[in-house]
Symmetry: C2
Subunit: 69 residues, 2 copies
């Protein structure tokens, strides 16, 4: 299992962060995700044989959030 930790802009409330968590956990190859609007931190555990950081970042951007780091 691999993990990435990202800083994501655009989460304003628990609805925002909860939705991003669910979107990520519904994505192919993602094993678990946590998103916190208070800290802007998003952590994603993934199967490196099925997805990669670029695809995860793209999924976040496609959902209307911005990966800033």
């Amino acid at each position: 299992m691999s993990s990435i930790e990202l800083t994501v802009d655009g989460m304003k409330c628990g609805g925002c962060s909860g939705r991003l968590k669910r979107v990520l956990e519904g994505s192919d190859g993602v094993l678990a995700a946590e998103a916190a609007h208070e800290t802007r931190r998003v952590t994603v555990d993934y199967d490196a044989g099925r997805t990669d950081p670029q695809a995860i970042r793209q999924r976040i951007e496609d959902s209307g959030f911005s990966v800033v780091a």
Copy 2:
């Protein structure tokens, strides 16, 4: 120009609704969109030659929201 009006669950704050508006307005064939978390209403003006209600509903669901009507 065609328009649809939908009821969408999952918008908790202005961050949620603002993001959904931007996601929709960035989608092919969408001319304008409004989203209000207070009322759960989403209105979308679109070019029927380039997209359709099914694609718009799918884009909303892919962003982690639920179209309920």
